[in-house]
C-alpha cells in the first residue's frame, strides 16, 4: 500500500464536502450542479481508463466499443434476463475484456501499431455500433433504450440511483477515486517501465526481456474493463443509452480528445480534460441561452457551437500544447519554481516525438 499524500486527502475531503456546499449555497439549482459534477466524474473515470493505454502510445479509437459493451450488456441483461446489474456489470466487464483480448492479441502479436492500430480499433468501434443498431429488437436500434425502472427509481438491487443526485454523486466519486488509484498503481508498477520501453522501441524492449505482447494485453484488458464499468454506470445514471451517446466513433473520438486536451501523461490530466470539455459545452449553452442576440443569431445551430470550438481547440492543443492543459501547467510551474530539482514534482515523461520513417 502506498502512502497517501496530504494533498490527496485534502482534495478528496473537499470533493466529499462539495455537494453539501452546493446544497447550502445553491439549493435552487442543486440538481443541475450535481448533474454536471456526476457527468464530469463518470467521464473522468472513462478517460482515465483510456489514458492508461494512450500514454504508452497505444492510441485506441476503440474505446467507444468498450463503453458501449459495458452499458448495453448491463442494461440488456437487466431488461431481458432480469439479472441485477450487480451481476450484469461484472458480466459486461468480462465481455469487454474478452473482446479487448480477442482484438488485442493479434494486434500486439503481429505488431500492428500507429495508424494501423488506430484505424483497426476504429473498425472495432463501428462493428460494435452496427451490431447494437442491428439488434434493434433488443437494443432499440439507433433510438436507444432504457433500463427498466425498478420500484420508485432508487434501488440498490437494480443499481438505480438517478433520482437521488446526492447518492449518485458519491457513487460517481467513489468510482473516480478507484480509477485514479488504478492509474497510480500502474504508474508505480514495473509494467509501466516495460510499456514505456516498448512504446519507444519494441525490439529493444523485447531484447531485454520484456514480454511486449503480454504487457500490452494486460494494460488493454484493464483499460477496457474500466471503460466498460464507466459505460455501465453512465447508463445506470442517465437511465438511457443510445448508440451515439455511449458507443460509436463519436464517443471514441471524444474520449481521445478530452484526454489530449487535459493531458495524457499526468494523473489528473483526463479529469482536467473532462472538466474542460463539460464546462466548455455547458458554459456556451448557458451563454447562448442567456443572451437574446446570440440565441437569435445561432438559433438551433447553437447546439453545435461547442463542438466547433472544441474541434478548433483540439487542433490548437495538438499543435501547440501536445501535453495538454495540466501537463503544460505542471511543466510551466516546474520551470518557474525556484526549488531544487529533487523536490519538484516527478516529471511525466512524454513520448519522444518521432520523425517520419
Amino acid at each position: 500500500m502506498t502512502r497517501i499524500s496530504r494533498g490527496a486527502i485534502i482534495g478528496i475531503a473537499c470533493l466529499i464536502a462539495l455537494p453539501f456546499v452546493i446544497r447550502f449555497f445553491f439549493s435552487a439549482s442543486e440538481k443541475y450542479y450535481l448533474h454536471l459534477l456526476i457527468q464530469i466524474l463518470i467521464w473522468s473515470f472513462i478517460y482515465t481508463g483510456w489514458s492508461l493505454m494512450g500514454r504508452f502510445g497505444l492510441t485506441s479509437l476503440g474505446h467507444g466499443a468498450f463503453t458501449g459493451l459495458g452499458a448495453y450488456t448491463t442494461v440488456l441483461l437487466w431488461n431481458f434476463a432480469g439479472l441485477s446489474p450487480w451481476l450484469g456489470v461484472p458480466a459486461a466487464v468480462v465481455m469487454a475484456v474478452a473482446v479487448a483480448l480477442l482484438v488485442g492479441y493479434p494486434c500486439f502479436r503481429f505488431r500492428i501499431s500507429g495508424h494501423y492500430f488506430a484505424l483497426l480499433t476504429l473498425a472495432l468501434t463501428e462493428f460494435v455500433r452496427l451490431c447494437i443498431v442491428g439488434l434493434r429488437d433488443y437494443t432499440g436500434g439507433s433510438l436507444g433504450t432504457q433500463p427498466r425502472r425498478y420500484g420508485d427509481g432508487v434501488s440498490l438491487y437494480a443499481m438505480q440511483f438517478e433520482p437521488d443526485r446526492m447518492l449518485s454523486y458519491f457513487i460517481a466519486l467513489a468510482v473516480w477515486v478507484v480509477g485514479l488509484y488504478l492509474w497510480h498503481r500502474v504508474d508505480r508498477s514495473m509494467d509501466r517501465y516495460a510499456l514505456e520501453a516498448a512504446s519507444q522501441d519494441e525490439e529493444a524492449a523485447a531484447s531485454v526481456g520484456v514480454n511486449v505482447t503480454r504487457e500490452k494485453l494486460k494494460i488493454t484488458a484493464l483499460s477496457a474493463a474500466m471503460c466498460a464499468v464507466g459505460g455501465a454506470i453512465y447508463g445506470q445514471y442517465q437511465m438511457y443509452i443510445g448508440p451515439e451517446t455511449i458507443a460509436g466513433l463519436g464517443v471514441s473520438l471524444n474520449i481521445v480528445f478530452a484526454v489530449v486536451a487535459g493531458g495524457m501523461w499526468v494523473m489528473l490530466g483526463p479529469t482536467v480534460g473532462a472538466i474542460f470539455t463539460q464546462l466548455l459545452s455547458e458554459g456556451l449553452r448557458v451563454l447562448i441561452q442567456g443572451s437574446a442576440v446570440l440565441k437569435l443569431w445561432f438559433g438551433s445551430a447553437a447546439l453545435a457551437l461547442d463542438t466547433a470550438i472544441y474541434g478548433l481547440l483540439l487542433v490548437l492543443f495538438i499543435i501547440y500544447m501536445p501535453k495538454g492543459i495540466l501537463g503544460t501547467y505542471l511543466d510551466w510551474r516546474r520551470r518557474h519554481a525556484a526549488q531544487p530539482p529533487n523536490l519538484a514534482a516527478r516529471a511525466p515523461r512524454p513520448l519522444e516525438s518521432k520523425a517520419g520513417p
Binding site: L119, L314, V315
Partner: protein, 289 residues
C-alpha cells in the same frame, strides 16, 4: 433472411461493383495523401461533405450542374491545401498519432460548422436520372454515371502521376521522403500539390455523391470509417490495393444489405476487415516496408 442465387443476387453483385467505383475514388485520395505525406486525414469524408454542400448551394443558386461540380473540385482542392498548410505542416515532425488526431479535430470542427451553417435537415439536389432495366434488374443511372466518372477520374490521376514531371516528383517523394529533397525536389511544394489533388478528388467524389445521397452534416461518419477500412485493407498508401479492396468491401455491403438488414452488411464488412488485417497486417496487397 432470404438469400437465394436468383436475379436479385446478381443485381446486388452488380450494384456492389457500381458502389465500388465511388469507394475506390474516395480511397484513392486518402491513399495518395498517405503515400506521399504519410498522414491520414481522418476528416477526409468531412471534406467530401463540405463539397456536397458547396455543389448544393451553387446548383440551387442557379449555376449549371457541371459548373457547380468544377466549383466544388476547386473549393475542396483549396480546402485541402489550407488544411495541409495550417494543420498538417506544424505537426509533420511530431508523433504519427498526433497527425491523425489533429485531423480528427478538423473532423469535429467541419461537422459542427456544417451543422451551424446549413442545419441538420437532409438536403437533396432533386436531380433524377432515372434508371435502366436489364432483365428483371434495375440500376439507377446515377450509379452507373458515378462508376464511369470515378474510373475516369482515377485514369486521369494515373496518367498525371505517370506522364507528367510533377507526377513523377510526387511518386518519387512517396518512395523516399529523405532522399528526394537532396535531389532538388521541394518537398513542401509537392506536399501542397498532393493535398490539392487529394482535395480535388474529394470534390469529385462529392459531385458524384450528391447524385445518389441526401446531404446532411453527419454523412461523413457514414462513409469515413468505410474509406479508412478500404485503405488499410489494401495497404495504406497502396493505390492499386485500395482499388481492389474497394470492390471486396462493397460486395460485403451490397450482398449483406440485400440478404439481411443494411447494417449487418456493414458489420460483416468490418468483421472481415479486422480478420483480414490479423492475417495480413500490412494489408491484403501491402508491400510497404
Amino acid at each position: 433472411m432470404d438469400c437465394q442465387l436468383d436475379i436479385f443476387f446478381l443485381e446486388a453483385i452488380l450494384n456492389g461493383i457500381l458502389l465500388a467505383g465511388l469507394l475506390a475514388l474516395l480511397a484513392l485520395g486518402l491513399n495518395l495523401i498517405f503515400g506521399v505525406i504519410d498522414v491520414v486525414w481522418i476528416c477526409y469524408a468531412e471534406l467530401v461533405m463540405v463539397g456536397m454542400y458547396g455543389i448544393n448551394y451553387a446548383y440551387k443558386g442557379g449555376t449549371p450542374f457541371l459548373l457547380a461540380v468544377l466549383f466544388a473540385i476547386v473549393l475542396i482542392a483549396a480546402a485541402g491545401m489550407i488544411l495541409h498548410y495550417l494543420v498538417i505542416r506544424p505537426v509533420l515532425d511530431s508523433a504519427p498519432i498526433n497527425q491523425l488526431l489533429v485531423t480528427g479535430g478538423v473532423l469535429f470542427f467541419l461537422q459542427a460548422a456544417a451543422t451551424m451553417a446549413f442545419g441538420i435537415d437532409f438536403k437533396n439536389l432533386g436531380i433524377r436520372l432515372g434508371s435502366v432495366s436489364i432483365l428483371d434488374m434495375s440500376f439507377a443511372w446515377s450509379r452507373v454515371v458515378t462508376f464511369v466518372v470515378a474510373l475516369g477520374g482515377m485514369l486521369v490521376l494515373w496518367l498525371f502521376l505517370s506522364r507528367t514531371f510533377i507526377g513523377t516528383a510526387i511518386r518519387a517523394i512517396a518512395q523516399d521522403r529523405q532522399i528526394m529533397p537532396l535531389m532538388g525536389v521541394d518537398s513542401r511544394k509537392i506536399y501542397l500539390i498532393t493535398s490539392a489533388i487529394g482535395g480535388g478528388l474529394a470534390g469529385l467524389a462529392a459531385a458524384l455523391m450528391v447524385l445518389q445521397y441526401d446531404i446532411y452534416p453527419q454523412i461523413g461518419l457514414q462513409f469515413g470509417p468505410l474509406i479508412f477500412m478500404i485503405c488499410v485493407l489494401g495497404g495504406l498508401g497502396n493505390m492499386v490495393g485500395g482499388f481492389i479492396a474497394a470492390f471486396i468491401i462493397s460486395q460485403f455491403i451490397t450482398i449483406g444489405g440485400s440478404c439481411m438488414a443494411t447494417e449487418w452488411g456493414y458489420a460483416v464488412a468490418f468483421l472481415f476487415f479486422m480478420v483480414a488485417i490479423f492475417i495480413r497486417p500490412q494489408g491484403l496487397f501491402g508491400a510497404r516496408t
